[in-house]
C-alpha cells in the first residue's frame, strides 16, 4: 500500500480513507465505521494516490490485491477472478486474450466488458476478431496494485463495452529498488522479470521488463513474449500532479485449437495434442500480437475544484490464425473452379491506431451539512483500423479466399454528468447521465463476393472480391470492388445508485443503469440508426463491513441483479467469433466475503445466474450458471533465528486459489463437465531474497477448459462429419514453477 505523502492541499473524505478491499461496503472510500463499528471515524491523513471514484453500490468492487498477490496469477486477466462471478477460458492459447464470462455474459475477449488500465482503454474497437477485443497480457501481474470491477453499467464514467460491467487496473509498484525475479518451470517455461522503482519515490513511478517463453503443456502451445511498462508520477506544484506511462508488448504463440471429443475417445488425437500433431492438418494456429502505447495524465486542484485529463495513443497490430471447424465452410460456389474443401483456417490481421483523451472537472462543497460533489467529464476516442480476414488452404498455406477486408475509422465521443449527493450521513444518491456519439466510416474493400449471373465473357473465377455486379436478371456491369458506408448515432445512458448506511457496518444499495456496446463494423450498413447494442441492468445489494479485534477486517456482500440486452453476442464457430443475436435476460446473485488479518487474507465468492434468450426462454449456451472462487494467503514473519540472520527475519507465505465452475449449458441441451482446480504458491524470503514454488492445477485435474457443441470436420473420417458433436480445448495439467527473487534497495 502506498505510503501517505503530503500534498499540500486538503484531501476530501474520499481520499483520506484507506483503500477499500474486495467486498467493501458500497460507501467504502467515503465513510468508514470506527473500530467498534459505531460512529464513523475521522481520519486525518492525506494521500497522493489517485482518487477513487465514489462507489456505485454493492456491485462496485474495489479490489485491493494486497496479500492475495501471492496467489498464482498467470496474467492480468487472472486477477479478475478476485471479483465475483468471473470465469476465464482460452481457446486461443497463452498469447490469446482470455474469454471472460461475467454475471451471465459470454463477454468473449472483452466485447461486453470495458477494460482500462489506469483509465487508458484496452478494448479494441474495430478488431475483426471481436469488436472490443481486450488483450490484457501486456500488463505485468506484479504491477497490479488494485482493480476496480463494476459489475453492471452504473457509473456514468463507464463507456463503450460496459454492458456486463467494467474493469480498471491500477498499476503501482510497492517493492522499491531493483528487483529481479527468475522463474523456471514445467514444459520449458522460463520467465524473467526485472523491476525498478526509485527508493523513496512514488509507488506510481517504476519500470518493469518481463521476458517469457514456454514450450507449452502440449502440442503446438509454444510461445514467447516480452513486455515493458514504464511510468513516472510527479508533482509539478502543490496542486498539480502528472503521470506518464509507456508500454510495449510483443508476443508470438502457437495454439492447439479445439479437439473433437470423438477423435480423442477414438485415440486419433491425444488430450493435450492437436490435429497438426496428428497429421490431419498441415497449418499451425497461433497469434502474433503487439501493443505499444503512451499515455499522460494531469490532475490539478484548486480549492473546491479539481480536474483530470488523460491522453493516450495506442498502436496495435494483431495477427490471429485459428481454425474451429477444419474442412467445413469452403462450399463449392458455381463461380469457382471445382474444388474439395481447402481448409477453414482463418488468417486474421488488423492494425489499429487508437488515440484519444478523457477527463473530468469536479466541484465539491457542503450542502445540508454534508459533503456534496458534482462532476462533468468527457471521453473522446478515435480508431483507425485496417483489417483483413482470409482463409488459408491447408495443403499449401496460401490464402484462397478473402472473407473480409475493412478499413474503418471509428469515433466515440461522450459526455457525462455525475453527482454524488449526500442527503444525510446515511443516505446518498449517486449517478447522472452519459451521452455518447458513435461514428462509423467503413470502407469495405471486398463488398461483392457473389454474382447470380456472372458474365461468360469475363468470368470472375475464384476471385473473392469481385468487380462485377448484376445489373439485371440477365446482365452484369462493372463496378469497383469496394463500398463505403457511414453512419452515426447517439445514445443516452442514465445511471444511478441509492446507498443507505452504514448502520453498524451494514449497508444497502440499489442501482439501475444502461450500458452500450458499439457493433462490429462488419454489420454497419449505410445510415443504420442504432449501430450499437444496449443493456439495462438492475441491481440490489447488502454489504457488511466490520473490524473485529482491531486486526480482523470482515467484509460480506450479497447482490441480486437483473440485466437485459437487446442484441446479445453469440459464438459462431464458422465466423470464429461472436456474432449478433437476439435479446436476452440474466437474473442472478453474486456473493462474496473477504477476511483480512495481520497474517492472512482470504477472499471467496459465489455467483449463480440464469441467462436466457427472451424469445425462446432457452438458456444461453456456454454461460456458466454457477461459479465459485476462493483465494487465500497466509503470510508471516517468522521469529526464529533473527539474530543469526543479520537482524532480518525469515518471512514465509502460503497462498492458494480454488476455482469451481458448475456444468455449463451447451448447445443441444447438454452440459459441460464441471471444472475444479487448485493452485498453490509458497514463498520463503529473507532480507533481499525470496524463493518461490508454485503449483498450478495441484490435483492434476484432466479438465476441459472450453467445451462446445457444433459441427466440424477435421477429415478424421472418410466422409464429412456434418452434425454437431462435443469439442473441447484442454485445460493445463499440473504445472510447477520455481522462482528466485533478488532485491536491492527496498528498505521495507
Amino acid at each position: 500500500m502506498p505510503a501517505p505523502e503530503a500534498t499540500g492541499d486538503a484531501a476530501t473524505p474520499a481520499e483520506t480513507a484507506p483503500p477499500a478491499i474486495l467486498g467493501g461496503p458500497p460507501d467504502a472510500g467515503a465513510m468508514r465505521t470506527g473500530p467498534d463499528g459505531g460512529e464513523p471515524a475521522v481520519l486525518e491523513a492525506t494521500v497522493v494516490g489517485k482518487r477513487k471514484p465514489p462507489s456505485r453500490g454493492a456491485s462496485d468492487y474495489q479490489v485491493e490485491v494486497g496479500g492475495l498477490a501471492t496467489v498464482p496469477h498467470q496474467n492480468a486477466s487472472d486477477v479478475l477472478k478476485l471479483a465475483p462471478g468471473i470465469l476465464l477460458t482460452n481457446e486461443g492459447g497463452e498469447g490469446h486474450a482470455e474469454q471472460v464470462f461475467l454475471r451471465g455474459f459470454d463477454a468473449r475477449e472483452g466485447q461486453d466488458i470495458e477494460f482500462t488500465v489506469d483509465g487508458v482503454p484496452i478494448n479494441e474497437s474495430g478488431n475483426p476478431h471481436g469488436n472490443g477485443y481486450s488483450d490484457t497480457h501486456f500488463i505485468i501481474p506484479e504491477l497490479i496494485d488494485s482493480l476496480r470491477v463494476v459489475e453492471g453499467p452504473f457509473d456514468p464514467r463507464q463507456g463503450n463495452y460496459a454492458v456486463a460491467g467494467s474493469a480498471d487496473y491500477h498499476l503501482s509498484l510497492a517493492r522499491r529498488g531493483l528487483t529481479s525475479t527468475s522463474s523456471v518451470g514445467s514444459f520449458g517455461s522460463y520467465r524473467e522479470l526485472l523491476t525498478y522503482a526509485p527508493p523513496g519515490g512514488r509507488p506510481g513511478t517504476f519500470a518493469a521488463v518481463q521476458l517469457y517463453q514456454t514450450n507449452g503443456f502440449g502440442a503446438d502451445r509454444d510461445g514467447r513474449s516480452a513486455t515493458f511498462i514504464g511510468q513516472y508520477e510527479g508533482q509539478a506544484n502543490a496542486s498539480t500532479k502528472y503521470r506518464v506511462t509507456a508500454t510495449a508488448y510483443s508476443a508470438s504463440f502457437h495454439t492447439a485449437g479445439v479437439i473433437r471429443e470423438d477423435d480423442y475417445q477414438a485415440g486419433r488425437v491425444s488430450f493435450y495434442g492437436d490435429y497438426l500433431q496428428s497429421g490431419y492438418v498441415q497449418q499451425a494456429q497461433g497469434e502474433d500480437s503487439s501493443r505499444y502505447s503512451i499515455a499522460g495524465e494531469i490532475e490539478t486542484r484548486s480549492g473546491k475544484f479539481s480536474a483530470e485529463t488523460l491522453a493516450f495513443f495506442i498502436y496495435r497490430p494483431l495477427r490471429l490464425r485459428e481454425d474451429f471447424t477444419g474442412f467445413l465452410v469452403d462450399v463449392q460456389e458455381p463461380l469457382q473452379q471445382p474444388h474439395s474443401q481447402r481448409g477453414d483456417l482463418i488468417d486474421l490481421h488488423s492494425t489499429a491506431f487508437t488515440f484519444g483523451a478523457k477527463g473530468n472537472a469536479r466541484l465539491t462543497g457542503e450542502v445540508l451539512k454534508q459533503p456534496q460533489e458534482i462532476e462533468i467529464g468527457y471521453f473522446a476516442r478515435g480508431d483507425v483500423v485496417s483489417a483483413t480476414q482470409q482463409r488459408i488452404e491447408d495443403a499449401t498455406g496460401a490464402p484462397y479466399h478473402t472473407d473480409m477486408a475493412l478499413d474503418s475509422t471509428l469515433g466515440d465521443i461522450g459526455l457525462y454528468v455525475d453527482a454524488n449527493l449526500r442527503l444525510t450521513s446515511w443516505l446518498s444518491l449517486r449517478g447522472g447521465v452519459r451521452e455518447d456519439l458513435f461514428t462509423f466510416d467503413v470502407n469495405n474493400l471486398c463488398a461483392v463476393q457473389s454474382l447470380s449471373n456472372p458474365s461468360p465473357a469475363n468470368p470472375p473465377g475464384d476471385q473473392s472480391c469481385l468487380s462485377q455486379e448484376s445489373s439485371s436478371a440477365a446482365s452484369v456491369a462493372y463496378r469497383e470492388p469496394n463500398q463505403r458506408v457511414t453512419t452515426s448515432s447517439t445514445v443516452l445512458l442514465p445511471r444511478g445508485s441509492l446507498l443507505l448506511g452504514p448502520f453498524w457496518g451494514l449497508s444497502a444499495s440499489a442501482s439501475v443503469g444502461e450500458g452500450v456496446r458499439s457493433i462490429d463494423p462488419t454489420y454497419i450498413t449505410q445510415g443504420k440508426q442504432t449501430p450499437f447494442a444496449s443493456a439495462i441492468s438492475y441491481d440490489g445489494g447488502l454489504s457488511f463491513q466490520h473490524r473485529f479485534l482491531q486486526s480482523l477486517e470482515v467484509v460480506l456482500r450479497s447482490v441480486v441483479f437483473d440485466t437485459r440486452v437487446d442484441k446479445d453476442l453469440i459464438f459462431s464457430e464458422t465466423a470464429g467469433r461472436n456474432i449478433l443475436g437476439g435479446p436476452s435476460t440474466r437474473l442472478g446473485s453474486a456473493n462474496s466475503i473477504r477476511l483480512t488479518g495481520s497474517f492472512f487474507d482470504i477472499a471467496a465468492n459465489l455467483t449463480y445466474v440464469k441467462a436466457t434468450f427472451d424469445d425462446t426462454h432457452l438458456l444461453i449456451p456456454y454461460v456458466p450458471d454457477l461459479v465459485f472462487r476462493t483465494d487465500a494467503s497466509v503470510h508471516k514473519e517468522l521469529p526464529w533465528w533473527r539474530d543469526q540472520l543479520l537482524g532480518h527475519p525469515l518471512r514465509a507465505s502460503f497462498a492458494t486459489g480454488i476455482t469451481y465452475v458448475g456444468p455449463r449449458p451447451l448447445p443441444y441441451g447438454s452440459r459441460s463437465d464441471s471444472i475444479f482446480t487448485i493452485d498453490t504458491n509458497m514463498i520463503v524470503g529473507w532480507w533481499f531474497v525470496d524463493l518461490g514454488f508454485s503449483i498450478q492445477n495441484l490435483l492434476d485435474a484432466h479438465y476441459m477448459l472450453g467445451e462446445y457443441n457444433y459441427t466440424s470436420d477435421f477429415h478424421t473420417e472418410a466422409l464429412p462429419t456434418l452434425v454437431p458433436v462435443r469439442l473441447f480445448t484442454a485445460g493445463a495439467p499440473r504445472t510447477f514453477l520455481f522462482s528466485i527473487t533478488l532485491n536491492y534497495g527496498d528498505d521495507r
Partner: protein
C-alpha cells in the same frame, strides 16, 4: 466431486436447457419388403430413349443387386421450386449422419445394419441424402462399384441376360456449359441422391431404416434400344450394361437418382 456437481446442477436448475439434444442411434438398410433374398421379377413399360420406336413392356428378373452406400445424411432444408441447385454440402443444415460403407443386398428385405452408430441432434429432418461414394465425394475418380446387378430382361420377345455395374467418376461428369460457372456441376452432385423427402426427428436409441427398391431404377432402361447394351458373349448369350453415360448405363445411373420410389426412410 460428483456429488458437488450434482448439487450444483440442482441449484442451477437442471430442468433448464438450451433446447434440442445430441442423439445416437442405429441405422439399417434393406431391399423392398417383399424381397425374400431370391430373384425379384418385375415389369415396366420401357420408354425408348430415342422416341423413334414404340414403347414396349420389359420383363426383368434380377438375380443380383447390391448398392454401395457411403453415408446417409438427414437435414432440415426444404427444396424450393425454382431455386438453383444448392451446394453439395451446406454447413448448418444437418440433423443426422450415418457412415457406411455398406453394400446393401437389394434382393433381401431383411434389415442390414450400418457398421457404426449414427449421430445427430433431436431436430426435425425434412429431407435425406444418400451418398453413393466409395471415398471423397469430390474425387474425380472412384473405382468403387456403387451398383452391381445381374439378371435377365425380356423385351419385344427377345431375352437379354445381363450384368451391369455403376461406378461414379469422370464417366458421370457433366460438361461445363457456361465458362462463368465452372463449379456449377461438381462431382459431388453426381454422387448424392437428394432431396428425398422425410419427416423424421431422431432420438437416442432409435433406428433409422432405409428401404431401397431396385425396380424403379430400371424404369428408363430400354434393353432393346440400339446400343443400349454391350454384347460380351454369344454362347452363352450375355450382355453388359455399359458403365458409362450412354444407353442403358445412362438410364440405370439416372434410375439410381430417382428421389421417390427408390429410397424410403422410416424411424423406428
Amino acid at each position: 466431486m460428483r456429488q458437488f456437481a450434482l448439487l450444483a446442477l440442482l441449484v442451477a436448475g437442471c430442468g433448464d436447457t438450451t433446447g434440442s439434444a445430441l442423439v445416437a442411434f442405429s441405422a439399417t438398410a434393406a431391399g423392398p419388403s417383399d424381397a425374400t433374398g431370391g430373384p425379384i421379377s418385375f415389369s415396366y413399360v420401357a420408354v425408348p430413349a430415342t422416341g423413334t420406336s414404340p414403347a414396349v413392356t420389359a420383363q426383368v428378373t434380377l438375380t443380383r443387386a447390391t448398392l454401395h452406400i457411403g453415408a446417409l445424411y438427414l437435414n432440415q432444408s426444404v427444396p424450393l421450386s425454382g431455386a438453383g441447385a444448392a451446394p453439395c454440402i451446406l454447413p448448418g443444415i444437418y440433423v443426422a449422419q450415418i457412415f457406411g460403407p455398406i453394400d446393401v443386398d437389394l434382393l433381401s428385405g431383411s434389415p442390414q445394419a450400418f457398421p457404426v452408430q449414427g449421430e445427430g441432434t433431436q431436430t426435425e429432418a425434412k429431407t435425406a441424402e444418400v451418398w453413393l461414394t466409395g471415398g471423397d465425394v469430390n474425387a474425380q475418380q472412384d473405382p468403387t462399384v456403387i451398383l452391381d446387378v445381374e439378371g435377365t430382361a425380356v423385351e419385344g420377345g427377345e431375352t437379354y441376360p445381363f450384368t451391369g455395374i455403376v461406378t461414379i467418376g469422370t464417366n458421370r461428369a457433366k460438361q461445363v456449359t457456361n465458362p462463368a460457372t465452372p463449379g456449377a456441376n461438381p462431382m459431388c452432385r453426381q454422387r448424392i441422391v437428394t432431396p428425398i423427402l422425410v419427416d423424421i426427428t431422431p432420438s437416442s436409441g432409435g433406428t433409422l431404416a432405409l428401404q431401397i427398391d431396385p425396380r424403379p431404377m430400371f424404369n428408363n432402361v430400354d434393353f432393346a434400344a440400339k446400343g443400349a447394351l454391350t454384347q460380351v458373349s454369344t454362347s452363352p448369350l450375355q450382355y453388359q450394361i455399359p458403365d458409362a453415360n450412354t444407353g442403358a448405363g445412362k438410364a440405370l445411373y439416372g434410375g439410381m437418382f430417382v428421389n421417390s420410389g427408390v429410397y424410403s426412410f422410416t424411424w423406428k
